[in-house]
Symmetry: C2
Subunit: 220 residues, 2 copies
């Protein structure tokens, strides 16, 4: 098997050191100089592999997302109802992010900037976002009773958006063990499922149609 090239080794070393320091002392306290020193390279060399400190956060984002995909697939296995599947997926997401919660607030400012590669809507994040979207598509497609047809296409993206909202809530959640976010998930998941079952009521159905058409027209 091909040995990892020297170049790739250095790249991994820098990334590993950086992410460990992010976890242990936080984003802001982890300076590019300290990463370089800890990894035994020069500052300039770290910049040779990562154009900015933000790109190191991007690495973190990608790894967290990959782990979420695995954990969510496990947790959803065998669960049939939409509410349960959604709940399992969201809790799995929280589990994966947990080690970073202490410093989540520091990361969010980076992620929210539209110019940052870490921004979940940015081009650099397309791959990770698509993978994340796939998790929610899987939730919807595997659900039984099945999701109303007219919602099936849009729901995954809407749920993913909701997940971003939950993550934002989680960052601000100072309650012990993120109890409030857990409670939010447990409350909101069955509500969404029940809300969808109302779709058959004519009055509701009409409103829902408008919601959908608005959400479609707004996403360009």
């Amino acid at each position: 098997m091909p040995m990892a090239s020297k170049s790739e080794q250095t790249r991994q070393l820098v990334a590993d050191v950086a992410l460990r320091m992010f976890r242990e002392i936080g984003f802001e306290k982890t300076t590019m100089r300290s990463i370089a020193t800890e990894a035994g390279v020069s500052v300039g060399n770290a910049y040779y592999y990562f154009a900015s400190k933000d790109e190191l956060v991007q690495e973190l984002y990608v790894r967290v997302q990959a782990e979420h995909a695995v954990k969510a697939a496990e947790a959803v296995d065998g669960v049939k109802d939409l509410s349960g599947r959604l709940k399992a997926t969201l809790h799995a997401g929280l589990d994966v992010m947990e080690p970073y919660h202490r410093f989540g607030a520091e990361f969010i400012a980076t992620a929210i900037r539209p110019t940052s590669p870490v921004n979940p809507f940015s081009g650099e994040s397309t791959a990770a976002r698509d993978a994340s979207l796939a998790i929610f598509r899987n939730i919807v497609e595997g659900a039984s009773p099945a999701v109303p047809k007219k919602l099936r296409a849009d729901l995954p993206e809407l749920l993913w958006l909701g997940y971003m909202g939950v993550a934002l809530f989680w960052v601000y959640d100072t309650s012990e063990d993120r109890r409030r976010t857990r409670k939010l998930i447990d409350g909101v998941a069955p509500l969404i499922a029940r809300g969808l079952s109302l779709a058959r009521i004519p009055g509701v159905s009409k409103v829902l149609d408008d919601v959908l058409s608005l959400s479609r027209s707004v996403r360009e």
Copy 2:
């Protein structure tokens, strides 16, 4: 009448210069050094009045909010239905923020940090947030037909939260003249009004009760 003290004059001068530069060249390009130079004071002096660059953004936030309160009160005058009142208020908000849209993305990263004074949930922003909440309370209380009783207490805060969401959307909106955000407002306002009128349907009412109790339990 009492003349503004020399101290207060200097403070205002620094703030005025800073906000003008924010508008004209953006948040990041406006350096503390350039603010000081432009205002004819030393860097340290600017810091004597504003503990950080963020506190200058806080000043901006307060002024924008005050202007929104005035514009919204005008726009809502004579409008009776909830949808119209909500629409007018949200559009007024966009109008006030418009001069800063070019650089809105730079400000959002500052505002989102939970440790920042600018964060709308922070202690330093309590006054501005309460004033902003009052705008939405006024929308609800003045609406006719009246908002269902069980919603009247919670709706203003929920609408305000929605307004924060619209502002976030607006920051990311790259369409010409923020057309997509305008369209979002025009679509979402009547939907909320119509959705509320469904509250009388028993099945919907039960779901709504759960939404409300969840939203209450989650806000600590």
